[in-house]
């Protein structure tokens, strides 16, 4: 076991999978000698050489498009898009090809690739470095969307993603890249894609969250005297609705927390499915604590934009008191 950060856990997963399987390669902007702008790929260039850790031209569509080709031939590319704000140019390749190739060719071709993308706000960064676009990709059939909230899950989920036969977008919450450490086994292990984690159990209310917001939820729970169950989705799609259902049926109350804008955020989908599955158990309307339907502000205002423990706490009280 090693007490490491989320960045180090991802790095460890990459090293181990690359050691084990020479079909795995890493490509992207600055991932080589520089070790990535967040140092996630630190040391890989030295260890595995320039043929497996590739600094590409500055072209997101090119990075994903060529990765699709690499994957179609049977390799396991792990492209990095430097920030979620730069996914835009690659959107066409991701949604028009990576997601559809299996269906389009009836599995004559598949695209086993893992797109690593730092995501979310809270790090004082310039424009287009703080967004939360997970719902956009969760809504594209054919993609799996993963977002770990802890070092342990990051390593296990990334190994699962790399081994997955289909395209996975692996969102890495920047705000918790280095925010805390966790004991992570040095041996390889997997955390299954599509399975949520119950972070703590409770009887009165369920909080569903993912990514960096999970930490905000923990803080709100720490302050509250209520018995609260926290479900960390870990995977956005496929959604582990069974875990949410079991929890909400037990507690009868639910708060969903995410950074993305509230309207059409992934919380909407979860709330709808709770209505479908838990209607008779609900003792209060499902509440969402989320970003606003505005452009993510520059960093001077980002802490006001992002859901924090205060806002979560208010929602907890409101839903409990309903």
């Amino acid at each position: 076991m090693a007490n490491i950060t989320l960045v180090q856990a991802i790095n460890l997963a990459l090293v181990q999978e690359m050691e084990k399987d020479d079909r795995v390669l890493v490509l992207g902007e600055d991932v080589g000698l520089n070790g990535g702008v967040f140092r996630v790929t630190e040391g890989l260039f030295k260890r595995f050489g320039k043929d497996r850790v590739v600094d590409t031209p500055l072209a997101e569509s090119g990075i994903i498009g060529t990765s699709i080709g690499l994957a179609m031939s049977g390799l396991r590319p792990i492209p990095e898009i430097q920030f979620e704000g730069f996914l835009g140019p690659a959107y066409d390749q991701i949604c028009s090809h990576a997601a559809r190739m299996r269906t389009r060719t009836r599995a004559a071709f598949t695209v086993p690739l893992t797109i690593r993308v730092p995501v979310g706000g809270g790090i004082h960064a310039p424009e287009l470095h703080s967004d939360s676009p997970e719902t956009i990709y969760a809504h594209q059939p054919g993609l799996k969307v993963v977002m770990p909230a802890s070092p342990y899950d990051a390593k296990g989920l990334l190994i699962s993603a790399i081994r997955d036969p289909d395209p996975v977008i692996f969102f890495e919450p920047k705000r918790i890249y280095r925010a805390f450490r966790e004991e992570v086994p040095e041996d390889e292990y997997t955390v299954p894609i599509g399975k949520a984690r119950t972070v703590c159990e409770g009887e009165e209310l369920t909080i569903v969250s993912w990514g960096a917001s999970v930490v905000q939820c923990m803080q709100a729970i720490e302050r509250s005297n209520a018995s609260i169950e926290l479900v960390d989705l870990r995977t956005i799609y496929p959604l582990d609705m069974d875990a949410i259902e079991a929890s909400v049926k037990k507690t009868g109350r639910c708060v969903i927390v995410h950074e993305a804008p509230k309207t059409s955020g992934f919380g909407s989908e979860i709330a709808a499915q709770i209505m479908e599955r838990c209607f008779l158990h609900l003792e209060a309307p499902v509440q969402r604590v989320a970003g606003f339907d505005t452009i993510m502000p520059y960093y001077k205002l980002e802490t006001d934009y992002l859901p924090d423990a205060d806002r979560i706490e208010k929602a907890i009280e409101e839903v409990r008191a309903y």
Partner: protein
């Protein structure tokens, strides 16, 4: 049939004032009047001073990420100097020197990097578009702006700035293709500073020049020494004439060097040799200009000392202005998503500190019954 040549071409490289002080009178004489030279040099020094202060501000937590302009002052400045004040400057984020020449207040730039959108609220009269963070995207906007001017039968043109890395993005190629085929008066000004963060130009372009990328689109191409403001001005003069008079786009590759890190969040020592940096320091556009002015007896050490003092004061005052601007209110962000605030967003604004933003308060307050 014998094989014939379908195309034969060459790329001209323009250099007027080299790093050793040699000056090409034939090309350079009369290009920039002496009094303008002094003003241009002063702008470079102020811009360099801002770089140094901004770096310290970031390190002491007074500012967010900042990209220094060091080493590239002559490129955007030379271009801005040659353009008309009503020509569009469609920049990336390393063109401070040219923007200041246009009169953009320094505190606006500081405010932007201090994490406040209001730094982008640029008066239209500057004809400068806001800092473009997503790489390469702004070249298409420049093409559109110039297209609009042509459509309106105005003499206005656009000049767009970008780096060598941006020429790998699809948008670059689409912009060049549009401009060439639709006869749009836009100048594509590539600041080839050798590095896209840690990735060298060789990974963006393995042809001998970046400039020749324009040939494929039928665009006239030029390469110049980007640290030589005379060479930049010479190329711009030619390009402006072509764009303004003939609606033909021109691609200029200005060869320069990013002396600093990519941004304050970067550490260039990790991926490039100090030797290379030292070499390029000898080609620094500021030194070159200062020595040239001294040679022409237009400059001396006391003027330099006076200028340095003035630059420090100018920057310190701008920093003070930027730091004393009242912090934005969070409610402000709701006012700018649309021209008219949709009710849904207004409601989020009014309930942003409640348990559930955007929800009708009547819905939340469980059982408020009115007595009929």
């Amino acid at each position: 049939m014998p094989i014939t040549k379908a195309l034969e071409t060459q790329i001209d490289h323009v250099s007027i004032l080299d790093e050793h002080g040699a000056f090409d009178e034939q090309l350079g004489a009369g290009l920039i009047p002496d009094e303008d030279l002094i003003k241009l040099y002063e702008h470079m020094v102020v811009c360099r001073q801002l770089d140094e202060v901004a770096f310290k501000l970031q390190r002491s937590g007074r500012m967010g990420t900042f990209p220094q302009n060091m080493g590239q002052e002559a490129t955007s400045l030379g271009a801005a100097y040659m353009l008309d004040d009503t020509d569009w400057m469609v920049t990336c984020y390393r063109e401070n020197c040219g923007l200041f020449w246009r009169g953009l207040p320094m505190e606006k730039i500081l405010q932007h990097w201090m994490g406040d959108e209001r730094g982008n609220q640029i008066d239209r009269e500057h004809y400068c578009t806001p800092i473009a963070v997503p790489i390469g995207t702004q070249m298409l906007h420049a093409t559109g702006l110039a297209w609009a001017a042509k459509y309106r039968e105005e003499k206005q043109i656009a000049c767009t700035f970008f780096g060598d890395g941006a020429t790998s993005e699809g948008d670059f190629h689409e912009a060049m293709n549009f401009a060439a085929n639709l006869d749009i008066p836009v100048i594509f000004f590539c600041q080839n500073n050798q590095w896209a963060i840690s990735v060298p130009t060789s990974i963006q372009c393995s042809a001998p020049t970046v400039a020749q990328r324009g040939i494929a689109y039928g665009v006239e191409c030029l390469q110049c020494d980007g640290n030589d403001i005379f060479a930049v001005a010479w190329c711009m003069k030619k390009a402006i004439e072509s764009a303004r008079e003939h609606h033909r786009p021109v691609f200029i590759e200005a060869v320069t060097y990013r002396l600093g890190d990519h941004t304050t969040a970067d550490d260039a020592r990790r991926y490039r040799d100090e030797e290379e940096v030292e070499l390029w320091k000898t080609r620094d556009p500021l030194n070159r200009m200062r020595e040239y002015l001294k040679g022409k007896k237009l400059w001396n050490d006391s003027k330099q000392a006076e200028l340095q003092e003035r630059a420090e004061k100018t920057v310190a005052e701008a920093v003070e202005r930027a730091e004393t601007i009242e912090a934005p209110e969070i409610s402000d962000i709701f006012n700018w998503t649309f021209a008219e605030i949709p009710e849904q967003i207004a409601k989020q604004r009014d309930t942003m500190r409640t348990s559930s933003i955007g929800q009708d308060p009547a819905q939340i307050a469980a059982e408020q019954t009115t007595n009929a």
